[in-house]
């Protein structure tokens, strides 16, 4: 079984899918010889050549729009946005065009493309290299949104995304790109379906729900809780649209105490949807308010790069609050 980190899982899966299906092409800024600024496309240019690994001009609208145009011809473009917040230059293409094409054409045209973007903070990138804009896309009908946190899930979800007949926005937690290595499934058809969460551990005292980069701190918090004999259930959402409501509600109802951890800005972030849904659906099972631990509603700061993130300390505070409620 191949052992790799998360960013290697990206290039590994791209190579595997490009070998399988010649409709799959990669495009973006510096994805060619450079192999991407994070090396997520390393080696692909040498293996597949410039017609399938396309260095584009510096325009996110151009990248996403061109991917869309290619996809209506049956190609399966995988577009890279160099840092997630640069997608805002191509926002209209993604939310007005890509997301709505199947709908507005009644399925005459579809957009089976993937937009990959490294996201998240903790890399001393300041506010234009650290953001988590996933909520914008969850709030946009027509897009699937996924955000894996492990190398194996990255393999399985990127593969799902490429094979999906719907457009998928895939966020990659850049802080975790090289954080851990693990065995990843070798089966070239191994997929992790869109819409299914993973329960990382089970316990009866509190449920921690998170996804993406914040999974790291959430699991650290769970470890710290275990040392204090607090048993937690940890859910990695992985998919945000559609999200695995059933799994979340099942554990929320069973345990009654839920902490939701996400580094995206607090107000109207995706976790507000999860919190609202929990209260709407299982109110009578709740022993404490579903409590969010989030990034701040400030532009992502440079000097307080780590403090901005919901770290174990803040997560533990929230757990304490729901336990003592």
């Amino acid at each position: 079984m191949p052992v790799m980190n998360l960013v290697q899982a990206v290039s590994y899966t791209l190579a595997s899918e490009m070998a399988r299906d010649e409709a799959v092409v990669v495009l973006g800024e510096d994805v060619g010889k450079r192999g991407g600024v994070f090396l997520a496309t390393e080696g692909l240019y040498d293996q597949f050549g410039p017609d399938r690994v396309i260095d584009t001009p510096l325009s996110e609208a151009g990248i996403i729009g061109a991917a869309l145009g290619m996809s209506v011809h049956g190609m399966r473009p995988v577009a890279e946005i160099q840092f997630a917040e640069y997608v805002f230059h191509g926002f209209d293409q993604l939310v007005s065009q890509v997301a709505k094409l199947r709908y507005r054409s009644a399925g005459q045209f579809t957009a089976p493309l993937v937009v990959r973007m490294p996201a998240g903070g903790g890399v001393k990138g300041g506010h234009h290299h650290s953001q988590n804009p996933e909520t914008h896309f969850v709030h946009t009908a027509g897009l699937h949104v996924v955000y894996p946190s492990t190398p194996s899930d990255t393999v399985g979800m990127l593969r799902s995304a490429i094979r999906s007949n719907d457009p998928v926005v895939l966020f990659e937690p850049k802080r975790l790109y090289r954080a851990v290595k693990e065995d990843v499934p070798e089966d070239p058809d191994h997929i992790v379906p869109v819409g299914r969460a993973a329960v990382r551990r089970e316990g009866d005292d509190v449920v921690l729900v998170s996804y993406g980069g914040s999974m790291a701190e959430t699991l650290q918090a769970a470890d710290a809780l275990a040392e204090q004999d607090v048993a937690s259930t940890v859910i990695d959402l992985r998919s945000l649209m559609p999200w695995d409501r059933d799994t979340v509600l099942e554990h929320a109802a069973r345990v009654g105490r839920v902490v939701l951890v996400s580094e995206s800005p607090h107000t109207a972030g995706f976790m507000s949807e999860v919190a609202a849904t929990i209260s709407e659906q299982v109110l009578d099972h709740l022993l404490a308010p579903p409590t969010r631990v989030s990034g701040a509603d400030t532009p992502y700061p440079y000097a307080q790069d780590r403090a901005y993130l919901p770290g174990p300390r803040r997560i533990l505070h929230a757990v304490q609050r729901v336990l003592e409620y």
């Binding site: 092409v25 017609d51 396309i54 584009t56 001009p57 325009s59 609208a61 151009g62 996403i64 729009g65 061109a66 991917a67 869309l68 145009g69 290619m70 996809s71 209506v72 011809h73 190609m75 473009p77 230059h89 209209d92 293409q93 007005s96 065009q97 709505k100 094409l101 199947r102 709908y103 507005r104 054409s105 009644a106 399925g107 005459q108 045209f109 579809t110 009908a141 027509g142 699937h144 999906s164 007949n165 719907d166 819409g195 559609p242 409501r245």
Partner: protein, 365 residues
């Protein structure tokens, strides 16, 4: 990589014309289209005009909620349709392009179904009027945000280039569209990639009320092509033959691998911007009248008549045939019925996800 076309020089000071306002042939080369084709062009011009008029009637009688009139644009629109191979090449039109889709062969009942929101629309009445499409004829569904369809058109061209079969894409838009960033991103992308795309600006010198001098830093749209390493041409878009000759050449040039080109087609819209607009606020009546005098239809009819290729009897028969075709199309479009409530939850994704199932139930309760 990008070579010039053979017959026409880019970046001329004056728009290309092959017929005078009086309908005389004035080109430096010989006409080489047969009479049948010449007559077809007239039929399509007339069909587009009458379609536009009918759409206006449907709108005023409440059958359609909106219309963006095309009258005055027919010359370039019919030429676009007749310069490509229908069903092989791809089109990325904009909302005013009824004349493109009707001349390409999209059934009138589909166009009218789209305009009146019935299921005769192959896109299921999902969008507001003036957004035609055709899957079989490769007409990418028109949409409202200005210039948003231009980047996908560049991508379409790249896909065609990579496929290597010599297919091409034509993308049309208004003069206002050239100000949008997405337009620029697309033009530059196509230029860099040498994608086989012919970009056509239906330049009616207004974007709603905003005149060209407030719209564009450059005096012509054609010269913007220099920024993208592609040739730029001005053409009289009310001269259907000039438009057709130029577009055919640029389409063949693209097919042959010489890359994209930009056409700046001078036209005028005779109507208001849309049924929601009052153009008398910003356009002097004399200006409209002056352009009316150059109407592409009578002009081209005079051209045919001078060749002995068109008669009053033919005109009468054509009018009757089109009216009949329109009547049938309106009836069929209406008979197709309107979408059910639940249809709004389909085609968001390939399969309806749980949350949309629930929302549908809530709404239908």
């Amino acid at each position: 990589m990008i070579e010039e076309s053979s017959r026409f020089e880019p970046f001329q000071d004056e728009p290309l014309r092959v017929t005078s306002d009086e309908g005389a042939w004035i080109a430096s080369f010989d006409l080489d289209l047969d009479e049948a084709e010449l007559q077809t062009l007239y039929r399509e011009l007339k069909r587009a005009r009458k379609l536009d008029e009918r759409l206006g009637v449907l709108q005023r009688s409440g059958k359609s909620s909106f219309v963006a009139p095309s009258s005055g644009h027919e010359g370039i629109q019919v030429a676009i349709a007749k310069s490509v191979q229908a069903g092989r090449d791809w089109l990325f039109p904009y909302y005013r392009d009824y004349g493109v889709v009707s001349a390409l062969g999209v059934p009138l009942e589909e166009i009218i179904g789209q305009m009146t929101g019935t299921l005769a629309d192959p896109a299921g009445a999902r969008q507001m009027p003036s957004h035609p499409s055709s899957g079989p004829l490769n007409v990418f569904t028109a949409l409202s945000p200005i210039a948003s369809h231009v980047p996908p058109a560049a991508g379409s061209g790249l896909a065609q280039k990579l496929a290597g079969k010599g297919d091409v894409t034509i993308c049309s838009f208004g003069d206002g569209a050239t100000s949008e960033g997405d337009w620029h991103a697309a033009m530059n992308f196509a230029g860099v990639q040498g994608a086989p795309v012919v970009f056509v600006c239906e330049n009616n010198r207004y974007a709603i009320s905003v005149g060209l001098e407030k719209q564009s830093g450059s005096a012509t749209i054609a010269e913007k092509a220099r920024a993208y390493g592609m040739p730029g041409y001005q053409v009289d878009g009310m001269d259907v033959l000039a438009s057709l000759y130029l577009l055919r050449e640029l389409v063949e040039r693209a097919r042959a691998g010489f890359g994209p080109a930009l056409v700046d087609a001078s036209v005028y819209r005779y109507g208001p911007h849309s049924s929601a607009d009052d153009d008398s606020i910003y356009r002097p009546a004399e200006e409209v009248a002056a352009w009316r005098a150059r109407d592409p239809l009578p002009r081209y009819r005079r051209f045919l008549e001078q060749r002995g290729s068109w008669s009053d009897a033919q005109e009468a028969a054509l009018d009757a045939a089109i009216e009949e075709e329109l009547d049938v199309a309106v009836r069929r479009a209406e008979a197709a019925g309107v979408p059910e409530l639940g249809a709004m939850f389909e085609d968001v994704y390939e399969r309806v996800p749980w949350h949309l199932e629930e929302q549908r139930e809530e709404m239908e309760r």
